[in-house]
Symmetry: C3
């Protein structure tokens, strides 16, 4: 806790998340494995599950999701994986646009904010 802000799992200049006033703000998450858009989306969402848990919350508490695809024509490959991930859960607000990512092999990056329940 520093200045009323928690910094979760800081790795050098990048934390997994900051938490303030009951909201966790995650850094953008990139694929840890996979080459297809679907496999990379699964990898990103798996990591988000783990990082939300580290913050004391879960996907049930998501407020906002931002998705960047390196090629927006792959929307139809990402979206079914996203929908499956949210099965049975009230869905968060979302936007999805195209952007090239920091490594050319990455096809998807996702950033989320979530409520941390007391």
């Amino acid at each position: 806790m520093s200045h009323g802000i928690e910094h979760i799992d800081v790795n050098g200049w990048l934390p997994t998340a900051t938490i303030h006033n009951g909201i966790a703000y995650l850094s953008g998450v990139v694929p840890a494995e996979g080459t297809s858009v679907a496999a990379q989306t699964r990898s990103v969402l798996d990591q988000i599950d783990g990082r939300l848990a580290r913050c004391g919350t879960s996907k049930k508490y998501l407020l906002e999701v931002s998705i960047w695809l390196s090629d927006i024509s792959t929307f139809g490959e990402m979206n079914p994986v996203y929908i499956e991930w949210l099965h049975g859960i009230p869905p968060p607000a979302r936007a999805c646009v195209e952007a090239k990512l920091a490594r050319p092999e990455w096809t998807v990056e996702i950033r989320v904010n979530a409520v941390v329940p007391k």
Copy 2:
């Protein structure tokens, strides 16, 4: 209300907005009609007015606006429509960058957060 979060007008895996602790977080809004950038911007802002109303708020209470243009050289076509929309209102924080959008006919997408007055 689920876990302290309201999910407004959920359509499958996408809500119009989530609301938590007095802030509405809208999903990205894309054009419902129009082909020119100006007409599509008007369509997006009209929809945002309606969606803010559904959340119990209005453009007077905007905190943040994010604008994506599929071609940043059309900034000068979007911006006068945006300025007119905000006429007489204290303006929200904003960023505007280029991004290709989920459908090639869409030239503009806008996402906003707003306070929900009590």
Copy 3:
């Protein structure tokens, strides 16, 4: 103060920031000088320091940072400047993707949110 929201340094239709419930939401900041990515990044971060001060806060209180590079292959030119800026400070959540910016000479734009200490 309007509707519980402070609008800092409004210039026409664009404020430096909005403040609500102890969080400052800055508009996207673009370079005021410099041509290299490193120099433009320094210019943007210098301006952010000044704007956070105008909001009654500082980089120690950052929650979230969004970085857009007009050419993602310049990540390695931007990042050392960013890391130096955060030296000795708990780092905020961050995402960095590529996007063309409103003027072709701009290579980097950064947007931040920060807690405003009481």
